[in-house]
Symmetry: C2
Subunit: 367 residues, 2 copies
């Protein structure tokens, strides 16, 4: 089965979701086009012609200034001209980096995305955001530029590690909340099959997330306003990732915890209108094996994540206006507000550890 989703940005493109769509990408590639691949991909997948491919460092490491320079140097070294299309095969970091290189090389060549992780399929592959990290923060450098096409082959999900796959589920959970009652119900319906990586459930779920994101970025491609709702949970997640040290907590897992924190803050700030939503999201997170609060994340990863440090990291978030963090908060499923300013005391309360035992300290032993 293949699901096709048209994204009506300028220019527009199609996202193909399903088992086997990677073959369509291969068919589309001309002899002079270039394959850029995450070197962490198992060769055993057998779908990749590796000769002539440019290999990127695996994971988030790929997304720095030096790697971007090295990739651009490799394209220039091959003397590729403007008619070249880059086929980028990999996770979100590879897509972010490869997409930015394509946008910059000769002031822009075409790019086709072949995401190989659930997270990249539901997130990085749609909307045209590209980026690399600076030492000062994540995604500080990039452009918004739409790809020529996206091929999200669900077969890649089968070879993901449990930790990686779970990271994707964090973004799926976020999309369900933004998607409203239907989004939540669909995920509730598919959760068990998803956890088993059932192909049909994957295709339905990815397609739902892509469609949701497409409708939002069509209205606001440059993130001037409405698109910011997609950052639900991300102000907290970025702070967590930063304080924990990038790479320690998988992005989607941090998003799930950040979503929990956003719900808590929404309640404390009087923004939340549906009092049943936090418990419902917690139940769903549990079924998907995700932490539903920063505290749960502290415990799982044995991290202290001091509130003061998280607050400081939030001030560095690039969406902060004049260093005053703004929040994306749900009013109810399907209605998410952005740019909400909150009392620092409320934010601190949400960030404060609620459990008595500090992570990493031993339980007092009985004599």
């Amino acid at each position: 089965m293949t699901t096709r989703i048209a994204v009506a940005t300028e220019p527009g493109y199609e996202v193909l979701v399903g088992a086997g769509v990677f073959e369509f990408a291969r068919e589309l590639a001309a002899p002079r086009d270039v394959l850029v691949r995450d070197s962490g991909l198992p060769e055993a997948l057998g779908w990749l012609e590796t000769s002539g491919a440019i290999a990127l460092p695996p994971g988030e490491e790929a997304k720095d200034w030096e790697s971007l320079g090295a990739l651009l140097g490799a394209l220039a070294h091959e003397a590729l001209d403007r008619s070249t299309t880059l086929f980028v095969v990999g996770g979100g970091a590879a897509l972010d980096l490869g997409g930015l290189a394509a946008a910059l090389y000769l002031r822009g060549v075409e790019v086709v995305y072949c995401p190989t992780t659930l997270l990249a399929m539901v997130d990085a592959s749609v909307g045209g955001k590209t980026a690399v990290n600076l030492p000062e923060g994540k995604n500080l450098v990039g452009v918004v530029r739409q790809p020529r096409a996206v091929f999200a082959d669900t077969r890649f999900c089968a070879s993901q590690s449990e930790a990686e796959f779970r990271s994707g589920l964090g973004e799926v959970l976020k999309c369900a909340v933004i998607g409203g009652e239907r989004g939540l119900e669909s995920l509730e319906h598919d959760a068990a099959a998803l956890a088993k990586r059932d192909a049909a459930a994957l295709e339905r779920t990815i397609a739902r997330c892509v469609r949701l994101k497409a409708r939002i970025v069509e209205r606001d491609p440059l993130e001037r306003g409405a698109r910011r709702v997609l950052n639900l949970g991300h102000t907290f997640a970025h702070a967590v990732e930063r304080v924990a040290g990038f790479g320690r907590v998988p992005h989607g897992v941090a998003v799930a915890a950040g979503l929990g924190a956003a719900l808590e803050l929404a309640r404390a700030a009087g923004v939340l209108r549906d009092a049943t939503l936090p418990a419902r999201v917690r139940r769903m997170a549990k079924r998907l094996g995700l932490p539903a609060s920063i505290d749960a994340l502290r415990e799982e990863f044995s991290l202290a994540l001091p509130p003061r440090k998280l607050l400081e990291a939030m001030r560095h978030d690039k969406k902060a206006l004049a260093a005053q963090p703004r929040f994306v908060l749900p009013e109810r499923a399907g209605k998410v507000l952005h740019g909400v300013a909150c009392e620092p005391s409320l934010v601190e309360r949400v960030l404060a550890p609620k459990r008595k035992r500090a992570p990493g300290t031993a339980r007092p032993r009985r004599a």
Copy 2:
């Protein structure tokens, strides 16, 4: 006097040309905006608030990957948010670099250009091209993104060195040929006053070049076709600059010589319809103190510029399609063709030294 030129790109903007327009730029700047300045600018100009300004290395040195990374790092270090506008004050290299940094920082903040050289006023400031160089070639990395406004203050021209000012005149000459009969006549009329850097002649000339370039980039902002005529002389010029070693021959001077070579090739290839044009351009070049052929440039700079090396460099030009150089050739003043493929033997003939004495070798002495 001030001349205002509207550029109807998406988004549109205005270019202000005249003595004193830099003050308007200063008035436009908000307290949180950032000044990025060419460190080669004489402090004595007195128009620059240097406190808090980010200084770029002077000249073409600024335009490399490391400098771009350093500039982006400086912006991130100051934790500037998306509401910031960069005011970039400097020559073409500073504008290219600063414009690219603005396009990339937080996926794009606004930029205002204040060109301080004649070359930058007539070339880099209009059309939205930004770039840095790679070791593999010039301008290989960049984006096309329009500025918020451009302030071309002719007073800056007064403090330029003769060599720098002359480089600007090379692009002015190129514009005159593209501009057709009226362009040529206007330049013939203003040539003497221009050489004396007369303010009114400068304003008229810069405004003509900006208007010409604006009309062309409006039709083809991304250089898919028509905009390529602006590269008249540049395939040769880039090859010369590359073989000579970047920085040795000022860009506009190389363009003047490249324009001469393009006219020669246009004649040899049977493209040229106006047989009087080469002599007319040569006369004008002489009045402006510019070389009108690659040979003249060889002599002036004591460079060998071997044809084989120039040819090789052309294959690296980013406009080359599958390593086959294409040329921008004048049919007559005001009618310029682009994408013209030429017999390699014709190109070699144009590149071959016509004077007997090899540059750098001594004239045989009489016994």
